[in-house]
Structures are given as C-alpha cells and as structure tokens.
C-alpha cells in the first residue's frame, strides 16, 4: 500500500471531521480584534492522541561524577577501533577531536557508563556501555536497541513526550551476558538559539532500551534518570566543510545541478537538484511516492556508476538506496526535486583536484594544483 496517499486520505478526513469554522467566522473574529473587542475563540470537544505512557520505574538514581576508568584518549580510540571497527572515530580521537566523559549513572540496577564523544560538527558519536541487571535479562533477548536524547538542558527540562531520540543497536559483549556496547550517533544542534547564543552544553539521556530476539522486537524498557550533562564546544570537533559548486550534469535530457557538497569526517554528501519539466519524468504524478518510484531507479543507477576522483584516487558511493536516492514532489507544484549521493570521506583541504564523473560526464569540484604546477601550466600556455 502507498503510505503517502493513505496518509493524505486520513489527514483529509481528520480535517473534514474537525474543521467547523467558516472563513466568515474567522473574519468576524479578526474584525472584532482589530476593533478592540474581546475575542472568544470557538471551541469544540477535545480529541487527543494519548501518547504511549512511559512507565516510570521508581527512580533509584545514582550519579557518579567521578571517572570510572579514568580513560586516556588512547583507550577511547582503541574502543572505537576494536569494538566497533570504526577507524574514522578512532583517528578523530587520536587527532584530539574528542571529549572525555567518564561518568556512570544507574537506575533500578541498569548502569550506563559514558566514556567519550568524538566526531565532526555535522555528526558526533558517543561511546558507552550499558549493563542490564539480571532481573531485566530475558532469556530470549540477544540484542538491544538504544534510544537516547541529546539536547540542550533547557529543552531537556521541558516536555519530552515528543522529543526526538537518537538510535543505535548495542552490541552484546561476547563474554558478559549483562553487558552491551554502544556507539551512538548524535547530531549536535550547533545552531544559535532564539537569543543568538550557540549552545555547547547538552544533556545525554538514555531513555529507552528495546529488547530483540534476533530481528524480532520483544518489548521496551523505559528509564528517566540515566542522563548526564556534557559540555561539547563545537570548536573541539573536526570541521565539516560546506561547498556550493553549482555544477551541472545533463543526462538523458535531465539537468542535475550539484548545489551543495558537504565534506565531513565520516562521509562526503553531494546534494543535487533537478528539473523534470520537458524531460522523460514530466508526467502527472499522484504523489511523491509515485514520483520517487519513477525517478529513483535511474538515479540509483547513475549514483552506482558515479566516481569521485581525488588527485587520481577514485571513490564510489557508500551504502545503498537509503543514502543515494532521488525524491521530491510532483512537478505541478513548481519545485525542483532533490537527489543525493554519499561518498566516503575525503580530505578536501589537502586535495588539489577533485572531479565527479557521472554517466561519462566529468565536472571539477575543486581545482587547486600546487603553485609549481600552476606556474608550469602558465608558462606552457605562454609558450
């Protein structure tokens, strides 16, 4: 079944069932307000979605601010490298882009130890252990999903019912059945708040543990007090470089504009826009999903053959269609769809020449040959 079309039907029905105010009534209210009269907003009986109640276990909180293992950055990098085979994070730690955490929190026998955090300014990775008490170990449980919050303290003090959680699958320790290792990716909100102040203090809060038997979901364990406060100034993390090359590829009559390239520590994200008017995709679409299914196979084929060349070294896309996809809206809404390619990390700063080849067409994303080469080139041209 098509999610988009079904969702629209349900929302439309909700609106038609719920909206009983006319434009005339709104105008009357507006005129009353502008004339200084008191306004009584029209009300109707409430219908509420009751969010799944979080069963708050009786809190037995123990927060330890002391170092657990007093880990050195070397051991932090080794944990990234040896436990998660995450060479990128390990190297970021070794380059100094990390923050030691070394704190333990406990609630109802569940213990979380936060070791450290590393990453670039577009995404961070937190290293932690979770120890589950005997009472919570289900014989069938062999995998844990971890859902955690990472947000400014002020936000954390508010209503967390709808707060966005970051998710990672924990790895069971090979020897200790109660111990799970976690590398949690979080996206720091390194943006100014309403007052223009950049936040660098966040609450890291493990809220939900999902128990699995293989790939089959069993149930959730909920916690409220497994959190710590972390200070992570964005300056200590590796930079993520944003470039806007504005180069285009025309393939089968479709013009794909590469509008933005994000060169991060973990990957290289190329973001395109394309027009469908007058192309083979110019057709009536009933939904974004229909459009996705029309354009995405071609785009993924193009992405799969694309080559990012950095000073002679060739890179191919990473991951699958989840990360290299085209999407957008039916063309009658006048907006250009998006398309994405995800390549491995490259060293943008030290690269001299970066090119992208798609379907036999090559565009230059960076051209900064060494001074000697530039001089030689100029002399050659003069001669």
């Amino acid at each position: 079944m098509n999610f988009g079309s079904e969702y629209k039907k349900e929302v439309d029905k909700l609106c038609s069932d719920s909206i009983d105010t006319t434009a005339d009534e709104i105008m009357k209210l507006a005129k009353e307000r502008t004339s200084g009269q008191n306004i009584t907003v029209k009300k109707k009986p409430k219908i509420t979605f009751i969010t799944k109640t979080i069963a708050a276990a009786a809190a037995c909180l123990v927060v330890s601010g002391t170092a657990v293992y007093a880990m050195e950055s070397g051991s932090l990098s080794n944990m990234f490298r040896n436990l998660f085979h995450d060479e990128i994070s390990a190297e970021l730690v070794e380059e100094g882009h990390h923050q030691q955490l070394d704190q333990t929190v406990e609630q109802n026998g569940c213990t979380v130890t936060f070791y450290g955090i590393t990453g670039d300014r577009s995404q961070l990775k937190v290293l932690m252990d979770i120890r589950i008490p005997e009472s919570e170990i289900n014989n069938r449980t062999n995998k844990l999903g971890v859902m955690a919050l990472f947000m400014p303290e002020e936000q954390h003090k508010g209503d967390l019912t709808d707060a966005g959680h970051f998710y990672a699958e924990a790895k069971a320790d090979s020897e200790d059945p109660h111990l799970y290792r976690v590398e949690l990716p979080v996206h720091p909100d390194f943006y100014p708040n309403d007052d223009g102040v950049f936040c660098d203090e966040f609450i890291l809060d493990v809220r939900i543990l999902e128990r699995f038997e293989g790939y089959r979901y069993l149930d959730d364990l909920h916690y409220q007090d497994l959190y710590i406060k972390v200070k992570v100034p964005q300056e200590i993390f590796d930079d993520a470089i944003y470039k806007f090359p504005n180069v285009a590829f025309t393939i089968d009559g479709v013009r794909y504009n590469l509008n933005c390239a994000i060169y991060g520590a973990y990957d290289t994200d190329l973001q395109f826009k394309f027009k469908v008017g007058g192309t083979k995709y110019d057709a009536p679409y009933s939904s974004s999903d229909d459009f996705y299914h029309a354009v995405n196979p071609d785009w993924f084929r193009l992405a799969s053959g694309a080559v990012l060349n950095v000073d002679g070294e060739e890179y191919r896309i990473i991951d699958g269609e989840d990360q290299n996809f085209a999407c957008g809206i039916p063309p009658f809404t006048d907006c250009d769809p998006d398309a994405f390619m995800l390549f491995p990390h490259i060293d943008y700063k030290s690269a001299q020449i970066i090119t992208l080849t798609i379907d036999g067409q090559t565009a230059t994303l960076k051209y900064a040959p060494s001074i000697v080469n530039s001089t030689e080139k100029r002399q050659t041209n003069i001669n």
């Binding site: 999610f3 109707k44 409430k46 979605f49 009751i50 966005g164 998710y167 933005c260 994000i262």
Partner: protein, 172 residues
Amino acid sequence: MKRFKTAERRLTLCMTDELFTQAYDTYKNTVYSVIFNYVKNTDDASELAQEAFIRLYTNTEGFSSDEHLKAWLIRISINLCKNHLRSRKHISDSPIPDDIPAESSFEHNDLLPYVMELPEKYRIPLHLFYYEDLSLKQIAGILKLPEATVKTRLNRGREKLRKSLRREDWDI
C-alpha cells in the same frame, strides 16, 4: 491544490474578504493538519488554526506567490504551536481518561496514530513531505534546518514508521 490567479497573487494590506475566503478554503487543511501534528489534539488545533488565519487576515505584508503565502501560513502555524506548547496552555482542562485507548477515536485510521507516536523532529518533516508534497529545500526553509538534517530526519522517521507499523506491505 487551488491556485491564486495571477492578478490576485499579491495579497496586500487591502486584502479583500473574497481573497481571504479563497485562501482559507485553499489552506485550511494545511494549517489545521500541521498544527494538529504539533499539538495532537483537535481542540487546541482548532483554536490555533483560527489564530493563524486571524493573523493572515490582519497581516500587513504582501505575498509574492501562493507558495509564499502557504509557506508563511505554515511558519506562522509552527510558531503558534511552539509558543503554545512552551506556555503549557496545551494541558487539557478536562483530560481524557488514560483508560481510553488512543486508537478508539480514530478507529478508521490505520496510519495517523502511528505517525503521531513518532518524535516531533521526525513527525513534522514527514508530514510536510507526504501531506504537503514539499521538497527537502522547502521543508528546510520552513523549519530553519539544513537540508541535510531534514534528509536525515526524513530517513529516520521512515525507518521508525516502518518499524512501528510492522507491516511489510506499506510502501513508505
């Protein structure tokens, strides 16, 4: 979607009742549904939707296009919701008893309860993408987020939705 005629594209201080009525008919579902996605109850959604349209009627700025008007309405709606939630006025005077299952009021809805259980950061981009057919760039502009962040949230929202629906036959 209804579109304003070219001659009527720029709504000004002298907005006529006729133009407002046209805008209301065109965008009432847009405004109501995005607000409902934030506040998750029809009572507050109705109040806030009325407030959004009152602001449109009394608005002194012009709009260069119907897309501009639509984006403005969505942005105003979101701001109203955030202020509303921040002020805690959303706490119901007569809360529904906890023993009433959430789905009972929407027994014919297969998807909405699942979407409503998603965290807000995934729910709103998904709604704007699937219901309003907005592009990543438009969503990023409205939510004041980088496009890459919107893309990530859409992907994660889809993943969570697939997981919670637990049905293979939904094409999300």
